[in-house]
Structures are given as C-alpha cells and as structure tokens.
C-alpha cells in the first residue's frame, strides 16, 4: 500500500461518511439521496429475497449472449475485411452508415421485427458490440507491420497459415480494445432495452423503482450496474493477460 492508495481510500470513505452524516442530520432529504448505509441495507434485503440475484442473472444472460454473438461476428468480419480487399469494399459503406447511429435508436426497430422477448434485446446488444469490435479489429489488422507478412511468406507460410498465425495474433491487442469498449456498450444497451417491454432484469428493477419514486432501490440498481462494469473489466483484463502475454503494459 502506497501513500497514493491510502489517499484514494480516504477520498472514498470520507465522502461516504460525510454523505451519511448529512442525511442523518436531516440536511439532505433521503427521498432524493438515501444514506449509503440504508442503500447497503436495501441491497442486502434484496439479495436475501433473491430478487437482486435473479435480476442480475436475467440481465447478464442478455449481456453475455449479445456480447458473444457481436464479438465473434465482429472479429471474423474484421479479420477477413482487414486482410481481403474486396470484402472490405463490401463492408465499408455499411460500417460508415451504421457505425454513427446510436444503437439504442435501433431498439424500436428490433422490437417490431423480433418481438418483445429476449431476442430483440440480445440483438440490439449484439449490434452495438459488433460495430465496435469490427472497427477495432480492422484497425488491428492494418497496424500489423507488413514486413512480418513478408517474413512469414519467406519462411513458407501459406495464405491460411499467415491468416491464423500472423494476422490473428497481430490484431489481438486491438481486438481487446474493441472488446473492452463493446463490454461497456453492452451494459448501456441492456439497461436501455430493459426500460420497456420486460418484466425482469436489473434495468427493469431500476426503472420500476424510479416510477415508484423509491430512490433507495434506484440506488441499488445503479450500484449493481457499477459492480457489473468493474467485474466485466476485470474479466477482460484477465483474458487479455492470459491470451496476450507478450503485450507490455505501461502501468
């Protein structure tokens, strides 16, 4: 533990403590800003009743499915598009057209096409993840030093071997950038798709609490989303360390 660590811990604990004291002293209306301990209490109750774990499970299922479909498709299209000129020409106008659209704006369309069930939510998430991963994968393939391709060819690698043994590992660092951005996007989109047309999930729980003006439970939802965000970041960092041990990290 360095001095820097202690300052960070002091900053968090200090602010929480101040907040708790101000609410208890009656200086802040708990209807707007419930005290940290009361939010923690509500979280514990909802965990014991099974309500919170169930909501997390429902949302995670949507996130995981959408993320995996989007990521797999994004990596495949990105690798092929980055390596084969004519495939890139076919992809390029679509990426240019769809990439700037906020993917949440596509959700109503997917609701119309795929109904109120899980699929419209999963597809919205998948599309959001797909474009982030695709664009970063293409960038990764482009960033590969051409002399490496030449060396592989000189050593006798076939086109397929160059693809699998040079282009894929060469693009991995950028692919992981895409995956990290995609994971953040997936959490944003699962919340938005759970506001309407569902009866389960963390987003639903949060939005329902808001409509009942139940600020404590709104906070429970917000904090849980935060924890999910931290958990996915850790998971991806771990995966990157395991699959790309050669990458030098500056921090």
């Amino acid at each position: 533990m360095t001095a820097s660590h202690w300052r960070q811990i002091a900053s968090v604990l200090g602010l929480l403590l101040l907040w708790q004291i101000l609410v208890q002293a009656g200086r802040i209306n708990p209807l707007f800003l419930p005290a940290p301990l009361s939010v923690l209490g509500a979280m514990w109750e909802m965990t014991r009743s099974g309500e919170l774990p169930w909501a997390v499970l429902v949302s995670l299922n949507r996130v995981a499915q959408g993320f995996i479909y989007g990521a797999v498709l994004g990596v495949l299209l990105g690798l092929i598009g980055g390596a084969v000129r004519w495939v890139e020409d076919l992809l390029d106008p679509w990426v240019a057209a769809v990439y700037p659209i906020p993917k949440s704006a596509l959700f109503p369309l997917f609701l119309l096409w795929f109904g109120l069930g899980n699929s419209s939510k999963i597809i919205t998430i998948a599309v959001g993840v797909l474009f982030l991963v695709l664009v970063n994968t293409i960038t990764g393939v482009r960033a590969i030093n051409p002399v490496l391709l030449k060396a592989a060819r000189d050593l006798g690698a076939s086109r397929l071997q160059i693809f699998v043994k040079v282009i894929l590992p060469g693009a991995l660092p950028n692919i992981f950038t895409g995956l990290r951005l995609g994971a953040g996007m997936a959490l944003i989109l699962v919340f938005i798709t759970e506001i309407e047309a569902t009866k389960a999930g963390l987003g639903f729980l949060l939005w329902e609490a808001f409509q009942l003006m139940d600020t404590r439970h709104v906070f429970v939802g917000v904090v849980t989303f935060g924890l999910l965000g931290v958990a996915t970041t850790w998971l991806l960092q771990w995966l990157e360390r395991v699959t790309c041990p050669w990458i030098q990290r500056s921090n």
């Binding site: 030093n145 002399v147 060396a151 592989a152 000189d154 050593l155 006798g156 690698a157 050669w246």
Partner: protein, 255 residues
C-alpha cells in the same frame, strides 16, 4: 552454381504520375555455393529489391532467375534475414525460430529440437522462452538468423542486418556471422552500404551503380582471415572500392 540471375530488371509503376521508374537493369550474376557474396551500393541502388527477387518475394519485370540446384533439392532454397529483424512479437524466441518448420508441417518435437540446436548455435541458450521485446537489438538479430537457418536453406539472404545496431554490437555480430558462415557452410548473400563491412566479410563484392541499379564491377576479396579493419591490405582494398563507390554516390546525388 546455386542461383543465376540472367539479365534481370525491375521497374516500379508509380500510379500517381503514371511513370515507370527503373530500379534494376540487366543484372547478370551467379551465386556460387559456399561464398559470402556482398551486394554493395549507394542508397536507392535497388540492392534490397535484388535481394527480394532472389528470395522470390518480388517478381522481376524482365529477365530470368534460375535455381539449377533446386531441381533435385528440397523446398525453398533461400531464407531472408531482415534489417529490422521482423520477429513475431507474440512468439517466444523458440516459437519464432520454429516458425518455418512449423508451417512446413514438421512435428512439434522435431522442430523444437531443431530450434533449440539453432538457438545454441547463435549463442542464445537460456533465452528460449523470452519474447522479442525482452531482447536487445543484437540478440534479436541472432534470433532472426536462427529462424532463417531453421528451414535449412542453401542460401541465406541478408538485408543490411546490422544497420540498426550500435558500432560495438555490430563488430561482435560481424564476427558471429563469419563464425556461423564457417560452421554451417551455407552460402551468404549480404546487402550492405558499408564498405568496411564488405571488405571484412565478403569473399566477393558486387559493386552496384546508382539507380537504376546495374552491376558496375565484381571484385574478389583475396584477403586472408581473420581480417582487420586496420590491416594494410584491407585498407588498400577499401580505398580502391571507396573511389569506385564515390563516383556512384556523386552520380546518384547529381541525378
């Protein structure tokens, strides 16, 4: 003779202006088994392009390249050592050296055994599991050399392999290259713009003209080894080549 270039030319097409720029013109050259052949010339004389043509990485625009020995030979005849090493950053030293045999379908045990033997040959024992970014420039070039040897080529092609190294490391690596050339009995074709390197290393020096590159003169280097940068015979040879090369540099700068 291992490899023969007959009247080889190479021209680049510049799309922006529609021009054709000649990089090489009527190069006729034989590579003999076991020699240390130096391609020497000013920057932009097309010597790297010539090397890529020998490697089969570029096709000549005119003329022919013959591999008389390849008829009864095995696989590709040449392997290249690049100036900036061109190591795969995601592979360990062992993985880099074993790459050639791996893509040629040599079973894992056999190719790793071969890779370990070559890593030992280039004096990198103990570094098998390190990644390229954990190595110094000189060590990286040793890995690149071992990797090129792993396919057991008859000819090793070097594209200014020591240009990125500091002077001390370059001296050490020159001796290392000579040792490996002697130990393996391979044929070396070596591109450089350094006169002293050419005189220290080569058995034969091909002096090239400024662009478009042609063969200006071919000189045997009859000096005994070990050669010294400060030796009298070496200095005399260097001086003579320097005058010839100077004409070409002046011509290149005037054009």
């Amino acid at each position: 003779m291992l490899l023969a270039l007959r009247d080889v030319g190479k021209a680049w097409h510049i799309a922006r202006t529609g021009e054709r720029v000649a990089a090489l013109e009527s190069i006729t050259l034989d590579v003999a088994p076991g020699e240390f052949l130096i391609l020497l010339g000013p920057s932009g004389c097309g010597k790297s392009t010539l090397l890529q043509i020998m490697a089969g990485l570029e096709a000549p625009s005119s003329g022919a390249i013959d591999f008389p020995a390849a008829a009864g030979g095995h696989g590709k005849l040449t392997s290249m050592v690049f100036q900036d090493y061109a190591l795969f950053p995601w592979r360990t030293v062992l993985g880099n050296v074993a790459f050639g045999p791996e893509v040629r379908g040599v079973p894992r045990r056999e190719r790793e055994e071969r890779a370990r033997r070559l890593i030992e040959l280039v004096n990198l024992r103990g570094a098998e599991q390190r990644y390229p970014h954990e190595l110094s420039g000189g060590m990286r070039q040793r890995v690149a050399l071992a990797r090129a040897l792993a396919n057991d080529p008859q000819i090793l092609l070097f594209d200014e392999p020591l240009a990125a190294l500091d002077a001390q490391t370059r001296r050490v690596m020159q001796d290392e290259l000579l040792r490996i050339w002697t130990e393996t009995g391979k044929t070396f074709v070596y591109v450089t713009h350094s006169l002293s390197e050419a005189v220290l290393l080569g058995t034969r020096i091909v002096l090239m003209t400024a662009g478009p590159g042609r063969v200006k003169r071919i000189e045997d280097v009859p000096l005994p080894r070990p050669r010294l940068a400060t030796g009298r015979a070496e200095a005399a040879m260097l001086e003579r080549l320097d005058a010839l090369l100077g004409e070409e540099v002046a011509r290149a700068m005037a054009s």
